[in-house]
Amino acid sequence: MADWDPSKPILEIENLSISFFTRLREIPAVMDFSCTVMPGEAMGLVGESGCGKSTVALAVMRDLGKNGKIVAGSIKFKGRDLTNMSEDALRSIRGSEIAMIYQEPMASLNPAMRVGDQLAEVPMIHQNMSRTEALKLARQIVADVRLPDPDRILQAYPHQLSGGQQQRIVIAMALMAKPALLILDEPTTALDVTVEAGIVDLVKELGAKYGTSMLFISHNLGLILDVCDRLCVMYSGEAVETGNVEEVFDNMRHPYTQALFRSIPLPGADKNASPLIAIPGNFPLPHERPKGCNFGPRCDYFKEGLCNKGDISMSAVPDDDRHASRCERWQEIDWAAPPAKRKAVAKTPIGPVVLKLDDLKKYYSVSSGAFGGGASKVVKANETLSFEAHEGETLAIVGESGCGKSTFAKVLMGLETATSGQIMLFDENVQDTPIQARNVDTVSSLQMVFQNPFDTLNPSMSVGRQIIRALEVFNIGTSDADREARMLELLDLVKLPRAFAERMPRQLSGGQKQRVGIARAFAGGAKIVVADEPVSALDVSVQAAVTDLLMEIQRKNKTTLLFISHDLSIVRYLSDRVMVMYLGHVVELGTTDQVFSPPYHPYTEALLSAVPIADTRVVKRRIVLEGDIPSAMNPPSGCPFQTRCRWKSEVPNGLCDREVPPVKVMAGGHQIKCHLDDTILNTMEPVIKIAAE
C-alpha cells in the first residue's frame, strides 16, 4: 500500500453493476453505481429497503455470496482494484484495512465465544500478535468505546451484554486493526433512540480520532445529516443523487430525494394543516424496472418520451461541490415550488372519555434460574398507570424498549389481566376480564394493529378470507354474501384494490399487508385501536401513506387511537396527546405541544435530544444518556430515572434516591413525575430550535 497517495480517494467505485443469478434469470441489484470516498470523509448511502445499498457495501467487501456477481465496473481501494483480487489478498484487507459494522449486533457476534477472544482474533490474524498482547489491545479498545468494566466485558459472552453494549463490541472489533475504511450497515436500526445517540456520537468521535473514512448506510435521513459529510441517495439499484449533505438536503435536484423529504415528518409538519405526502405507487421489483428513469412511474415531473426513452446518466449540478443528479429534467423543475397536492383538513373534534385507566398495575413474578429454580422476583412492568382517552383522539405512548408499553397494550387487550387498578372501557370494568371472557362487542370495539405486518397475517389464507373470518368472529353480517360485501367495503376503506381479496399475503408488499392488518382491526367497527408501532417495520415512503390512512379512518369513524411508538418524529406529527413511559412509570403526560416544549421531564428532554432530525435548519442540544436502562427486575430505588438523570444534583437531600416522585400537575393539565422544583423546570430550554426563522 506504500504507493498510495493520501490525497487520492480511499475508495473509488466506478460504474459498478452487480447482479444476482437465479435459475430463472439474472436479477440486476445495482446498476452503474459510482461514488468516491476521500480519506477522513464520511459518505452516507440512503435509500429504502431493496434499493441495493447493502449490496454495494458487501460488494466492497467482495462478499456477495454464491449467486452475486460483479458484472461491470471497478471498486478501487487505495488505488487497488478489489474486483479482481485473489481470495488471499482480500483476506488480508478484510478486517485490517476495511472493517464492517452490522445491523444486528446480537447476530453478528459468535454466541459461543467470549467477547475477548472475538476481539483478540483480529490483531492475531493480521499482525501476528500474541494472544496476551491482543487481549491487552482489546481491553484498551473496549475502554475506548466507553464500555464500563472492560475486564468483565472481555470475559463475557455476547448474550450477557445489552444491545447497546453488543454494538459497541462490534464497533470495537472493527477498530481493532485501525482500518482505513469503516463500513456501517444500519448500525443503529435495532437499537433504542437514546442508545443510538450514544453510538452515533461514539462513531463520529472515533472517526475523527483515528481519521477513518466511513461508508454509512442508513434509511434514516436524520442520522445521515448527523454523521456524514457527503451522501448518495439510491433508488432501485441506482444512485439518483449524490453530493454534499447540506447541499442535497437544502437544494435537492432529484424528484425522488424531494419526495422522500416530503414523506418524512419534520418539525413543522402537522397532520391537519400540512400532512405528509406519500410517494404514490410501489417500489419496482428488480426484474420489473421500467425503461428509462426507474422513478418515472411514481414521479410528479414525469414527461412521456423524455423520461422513459432510454438510460439516464448522472449529470453534474454545476457550481456545487461534486453534486450530481440522475434526472433528465432537473434544470427545468422549479425546486422551490410548494407541493401541489398538499390539502389541509379540519381537525377532528375530541369527544367524551371512552377509556379510563386508574392506578393500573401489572406485576409479573419470574424465577431467576434457567431450569426453573432460584428465588422468584417481581417484575413491575406497569406502575400506577392513570390516564383517560377521548373519542376521536390520538394518544401516543412513547418510550424505549422495556418501558412497559407493550405490557400495557396486552393488559388493555385482555391478553393479560391487571394486578390491581381499574380499566374502564366505555362503562365497563375490564381489568380482570381476559380476552376469552370478554363479549364479542367489547372485543370488536377494541382492536389492535400490530408492528410486523409480515408475521401477523396467516400465510395460507387469502386476504379476503382473513377479513371475512374476522367479520364472522365479530358476528357481523347475516349471510356469507353480506360479509363478502362488507369485506370489499373494508378493502375500499384501506384503499386496496378489490381484486386483492383473492391474493395471498406473500403477494403483497409490506405496506399493503399493513393495510390488510388495519382492515382487519376495523372489521368490527372498532372504537379504540391500539396501534403498536404500526409503521416502524415499513419504509419511510410507505410510512407516510399508512399513517395517513390511519388518520383518515380515524376522522371518518371517530376512532380513539392509542399509538405506541418509539419514533418521536411521527408521534409529534400525528398525536394529540403524548404519554412518556420509563421503566413502567408514566413520567410525563400532556398535549403534544406541552410534551415537546419545556418544561420537560428530564427523560423526555434526553429522548427528544436523541431523535435525529433530517433538517439542516434544526439546532439541537445534545444530551446523551449514560449507561443502559436499568433492568425492570431490579429497578433503582426512588425515582426510576435517577441513575441516568442529569438534573439529579438540582434536587436537594438526595430525594431522588429515596422516593418515587409525585405526579406534578402543571399549567394546562400537563403532568410530570419529577422532584424538580417548578422554578427549575421553568428554566429549561427547548431541545430543538429551528434556526434562522
Binding site: M61, D63, K66, R91, S92, I93, R94, G95, S96, A99, M100, Y102, E104, A107, S108, L109, N110, P111, A112, M113, E121, V122, I125, H126, Y157, H159, V170, M173, G369, A370, F371, G373, G374
Partner: protein
C-alpha cells in the same frame, strides 16, 4: 445445579417406578403365570393345579402387593402348602422362616432368579450388560467421530460435490435397517462361500477362510478386530447416517449465520472459521441426538446381537421374552430405564457446557 440434579434424579426414580410397574403388570398377567406354572411345575397339570401352583408360589394376591414385594417395600410372601412345605419369597438358599429377612425385593438386592439361566437375575443382567457395554463402546467410538466428520464436511459447503456425495451415503446408510445391512455384510465379508472372502482366501491374502468372522460369539471371551468388526459396523452404519444428517443440517444453518459472515469479513481463513467459529455452535444440536442414540443402541442391539449370536443384553432380552422369564424381563426393563434416563441427564448437563446461553444456576 444441585437442585437441578436433585429434581432430575427424583423425576428419574418416579419414571423408573411407573415404568417398572407397567412392565410388572404386563409380565404378570394371568396367561403368563399359567405358562410359568406349566414350565416350572408340570406340563400336564390340570387347570385347578395350575391355579393352586400360582397361589402357592406367591403369585396370588393383588398386583400392587406383589409389585410391592418385588420392590421390597412389602414383606415377602411365606406360604405353607398342604404337604407342610413352607415356601416364601425370601426363603431361598436354605434360609428358614426365622433367619430369613422380612423384605427381599430389588431394594434389598434380590432381583429374583432367572428361569432360563438358572442363576440370580442380577448376575445375568450385569454380565450381559457388560458385554453389551463393550459393543456400545466400540459402536460409539466408530460412529460418533465418523458421523461428525462427515456431517461437518458436507455441511460446511452446502450444495458442493462433497456435500452431495456424503449426503447420498448418509441417506443410504440410514435408510438400511440393521437386519438388512447385517446380512449383506456377513454375506459379503464374513462368509466362506460368498462375497470377497473366498477370492481373498484363494489368493492367499488372508490367513483364515473369511475376512471377518460372521459370528461374534468368540468376542464374549476376547474382542478382536476380526470377530467384532462386523457387528460394530452394522450398528454404526445406521447411526452414522442419522447423526451425519443432523450435523450437516446444524452446520449448514450455522454457516449462514451472521457471525460467520462477521468472522469472514474479519479476515479469518475458511479453515479457522470452521474450527473456531462454526464447530462449537454446530455441535450443540447433534450432541442431544448422540445422547439419544444410547437408548436407541440398547434397542438396536437386540437384532444385531441375535444376528451375530453375541450374548449380550439384547440377546438376553430376546431369550427372556421368548422363554417367559418374568424376573429376568423385569430386571432388564429396570436396567434399560435407568440407562435411558441417565444418558438423558448427561445430555442435559453436557448441553449446558456446550451452549453458554443456558445456565444451570
Amino acid at each position: 445445579m444441585y437442585l437441578f440434579l436433585l429434581r432430575r434424579v427424583g423425576l428419574m426414580l418416579l419414571t423408573a417406578l411407573s415404568l417398572s410397574f407397567i412392565v410388572f403388570c404386563l409380565t404378570n398377567l394371568a396367561p403368563n403365570l399359567e405358562k410359568l406354572a406349566r414350565t416350572e411345575g408340570s406340563v400336564r397339570m390340570t387347570d385347578d393345579d395350575v391355579a393352586n401352583w400360582v397361589i402357592q408360589n406367591g403369585h396370588g394376591g393383588s398386583m400392587v402387593s406383589r409389585y410391592g414385594e418385588w420392590l421390597g417395600v412389602v414383606p415377602g410372601w411365606v406360604l405353607t402348602d398342604e404337604k407342610g412345605v413352607t415356601r416364601g419369597r425370601c426363603l431361598q438358599g436354605g434360609l428358614t422362616v426365622e433367619s430369613a429377612p422380612r423384605f427381599c425385593g430389588i431394594f434389598q438386592g434380590n432381583w429374583g432368579t432367572s428361569t432360563v439361566f438358572r442363576e440370580p437375575v442380577l448376575k445375568t443382567v450385569t454380565n450381559k450388560l457388560a458385554a453389551t457395554g463393550w459393543l456400545m463402546f466400540w459402536v460409539m467410538m466408530v460412529m460418533v467421530p465418523t458421523a461428525l466428520v462427515l456431517g461437518v464436511l458436507s455441511g460446511m459447503r452446502e450444495g458442493s460435490r462433497t456435500d452431495r456425495v456424503l449426503s447420498t451415503f448418509a441417506i443410504a446408510s440410514t435408510a438400511t435397517p440393521e437386519y438388512v445391512s447385517g446380512v449383506i455384510l456377513i454375506a459379503f465379508l464374513g462368509s466362506a462361500t460368498a462375497g470377497i472372502s473366498p477370492v481373498l482366501s484363494s489368493w492367499g491374502w488372508i490367513e483364515g477362510r473369511t475376512l471377518f468372522q460372521g459370528t461374534a460369539t468368540s468376542a464374549m471371551d476376547k474382542i478382536t478386530f476380526w470377530n467384532f468388526a462386523l457387528p460394530v459396523i452394522t450398528i454404526a452404519l445406521y447411526g452414522i447416517g442419522y447423526i451425519a444428517r443432523m450435523t450437516r443440517a446444524s452446520m449448514t444453518e450455522v454457516m449462514t449465520q451472521q457471525y460467520i459472515r462477521t468472522a469472514r469479513l474479519k479476515g479469518v481463513s475458511f479453515r479457522q472459521i470452521i474450527i473456531k467459529h462454526a464447530l462449537r455452535n454446530a455441535l450443540i444440536a447433534p450432541f442431544t441426538v448422540i445422547m439419544l442414540q444410547f437408548p436407541w443402541l440398547l434397542n438396536g442391539v437386540v437384532i444385531v446381537e441375535t444376528l451375530f449370536n453375541y450374548k449380550g443384553f439384547g440377546w438376553t432380552l430376546v431369550q427372556a421374552a421368548g422363554n417367559n422369564d418374568i424376573q429376568l424381563l423385569l430386571g432388564c426393563s429396570v436396567v434399560a430405564v435407568f440407562v435411558v434416563l441417565i444418558t438423558q441427564l448427561i445430555s442435559d448437563i453436557g448441553y449446558v457446557f456446550l451452549n453458554p446461553r443456558i445456565r444451570l444456576s
